[in-house]
Symmetry: C2
Subunit: 167 residues, 2 copies
């Protein structure tokens, strides 16, 4: 297994770490079962209206987000890379299910290819939660940053915590 | 684990299967240790002059081929996806080590992105050897086919068998 976050590259990657007061197994459950992912995955008032999870390396990770105006975004289609229960979940949109390289969009490249990594570790207050997005170039990092990576993923995490506490 | 070759797509993928008269563990060794890979990996008179293998999901698979005239080709840089000893080896050049999406080449896309999969199964005569290359589109499949995928990988396999028999 690759050593994270030792291979974090500040020129190419985005990263944040938070302590959340729920245990790793509940965070894992919220990330890996569609019925437990859909309630929190999009920062409200956006919603997640479709989700398919085939939790194994090479398996499908599929979501569709809906805007507050009711417009569905193009589906997010990706492939799991690592599914280490309660510890690390990695996926990428650079590969489709079965590890097939993702199709070109328009003039020759995927729109915003990235690999997402969620790392969980037990902590005295619950879980140390680390989220990383890795990009092929600084344009990718900057684009994802401008889209509000940390704010958006952070807000979704707050929703996750609130959701699993109510389970 | 994805079900191979059930997800083989003849429009996008290339595939061949052969029975070889050496056991799976020797085929595995020849694919996963640089000193045992370099002697057979390129169809002669081409040679493999550099090889680095970090055998774990997310680990580097790096080779450099040299032409009969002594010219080194651009390095093949990829990332392992599955490393299931004596059974299945999957890697892709669509990701760099650490699962980072591969950089753009020239005007916006990777030259020939593919995922390679080698499957090994015990057979009464040695090993059932299955090789697959998965592409994002039919152009990728056709390009790889025209480069001589089956002939080249097949010839390399013959070299592999000859090499491991002499170990």
């Amino acid at each position: 297994m690759t050593n994270y976050p030792a291979d974090f590259d500040p020129k190419l990657d985005l990263f944040f770490e938070r302590i959340v007061d729920v245990p790793p197994n509940l965070v894992w459950k919220a990330w890996t079962e569609p019925k437990h992912l859909m309630p929190w995955f999009c920062p409200k008032p956006w919603t997640t209206v479709e989700c398919t999870i085939d939790l194994r390396p090479g398996g499908l990770f599929y979501t569709v987000m809906r805007s507050p105006e009711g417009k569905d975004m193009p589906a997010n289609v990706g492939c799991y890379l690592e599914t280490i229960e309660n510890k690390r979940l990695s996926w990428t949109n650079a590969l489709l299910p079965g590890f097939r390289p993702a199709a070109k969009i328009e003039d020759g490249c995927l729109d915003l290819p990235f690999t997402g990594i969620i790392m969980l570790a037990p902590h005295e207050r619950g879980t140390k939660y680390t989220a990383m997005a890795k990009h092929r170039d600084d344009f990718g990092r900057k684009t994802h940053e401008d889209m509000g990576f940390e704010h958006g993923w952070g807000k979704a995490l707050e929703q996750l915590v609130e959701y699993v506490k109510a389970l």
